[in-house]
């Protein structure tokens, strides 16, 4: 089938403002949007820029705004997009070029929540024990690939770039609910900050956007609840 892609382009090196480019690609209905983007880049217009690597939704490179909502270009099939497809960079971060945004602020927020294992007790010789149920407790949030689709779909984040954002909270959740971790208090303290979890207004765009099927809002809710019971 033939599909037409309208792509929002912007190269700060030479463009004053963003513009729309239109391409027509011959493709299979079961092709990924990323296949179409590659076809453009490799056979039509080499200047089109975007990030990609794994091609199957595990590296988090190619989150973008596709027909009005965030998704990974390698995880949506053309047959689900119709014949006229609109592709834009994710909202809320500076556009570096075409479909690539500046991710430094995104990773900075991630780093703020101390996204690493913290323990003070002595390390055992073999593994630390953890029951399957305890492991299950935070399974959902271990799936995050830091693609940024959630944070850039969140109206609270658009309004307030200071908001730490769902991705960072998801990664904090992964440790807060890990029975082996001992950094719970410090992390909760960070999330309790005015630009922490309280900025979330349960909008659920993040859940819809997450390519890993993480129930982001639920994770945020669990953190809120943990904070509430800690203080009361």
């Amino acid at each position: 089938m033939k599909v037409t892609l309208k792509i929002k382009r912007f190269n700060p090196e030479k463009d004053e403002k963003p513009w729309w480019a239109e391409y027509t690609v011959e493709a299979e209905p079961t092709d990924r949007l990323l296949d179409a983007l590659n076809a453009i880049k490799w056979y039509q217009d080499g200047t089109l820029s975007f990030r990609r690597s794994c091609m199957h939704g595990v590296c988090g490179s190619d989150a973008m705004l596709i027909n009005g909502s965030n998704a990974l270009a390698c995880k949506v099939l053309l047959k689900n997009l119709g014949e006229n497809i609109k592709v834009e960079p994710m909202r809320g971060f500076r556009v570096a070029r075409d479909l690539m945004v500046d991710l430094e602020p995104f990773f900075d927020k991630y780093k703020q929540v101390k996204p690493y294992f913290i323990t003070h007790s002595v390390t055992p010789e073999k593994e630390r024990q953890q029951s399957p149920a305890e492991r299950e407790r935070f399974d959902d949030t271990t799936k995050c690939i830091l693609c940024g689709a959630c944070t850039t779909s969140c109206p609270s984040f658009w309004a307030n770039p200071e908001y730490i954002g769902p991705a960072a909270i998801v990664n904090a959740h992964r440790f807060v609910f890990d029975s082996r971790d001992e950094g719970r208090e410090e992390r909760l303290e960070i999330l309790n900050h005015r630009d922490g979890v309280w900025r979330c207004r349960t909008i659920f765009n993040c859940v819809e956007a997450c390519p890993r099927g993480i129930n982001v809002t639920r994770a945020i809710g669990e953190v809120k609840k943990a904070l509430m019971f800690r203080k009361l």
Binding site: S156, A159, N160, N192, H193, R194, G196, W198, K224, L227, M228, K231
Partner: protein
């Protein structure tokens, strides 16, 4: 701090659920502006029950609404100066309304009841 604001929104929300919906039902559905007049209100304010009801509702609704407005300002007023200004106005305005409303409810003495 944000935690308490958040919690307050939920708790006041639950209480308001009954107060505001009750108020809505009584004043706007069962009665309506055609049957409401000075007399009606004056009569209602004779009982301490309705006075307390209205006072609690006023406070909760106003604080709830004002805190909501605060969130909106923090979200959408991006420029620092403007934000401080808007927040300050909000607090002052909020205080005035709170005082005015309470004054009316507390000090009301029916004339020629």
């Amino acid at each position: 701090m944000e935690l308490y604001a958040w919690l307050f929104m939920r708790v006041s929300g639950i209480v308001l659920l009954f107060l505001a919906l009750g108020h809505l039902l009584i004043m706007h559905v069962i009665h309506n502006v055609e049957t409401i007049d000075y007399h009606f209100v004056a009569h209602r304010f004779m009982t301490p029950f309705w006075r307390t009801y209205d006072l609690v509702m006023l406070w909760l609704a106003l604080l709830h609404g004002l805190n909501g407005a605060r969130t909106l300002i923090e979200d959408y007023v991006g420029v620092r100066g403007w934000r401080v200004f808007s927040l300050a106005s909000l607090y002052i305005l909020g205080f005035i309304f709170l005082a005015l409303g309470s004054l009316v409810i507390l000090t009301f003495q029916p004339v020629g009841g």
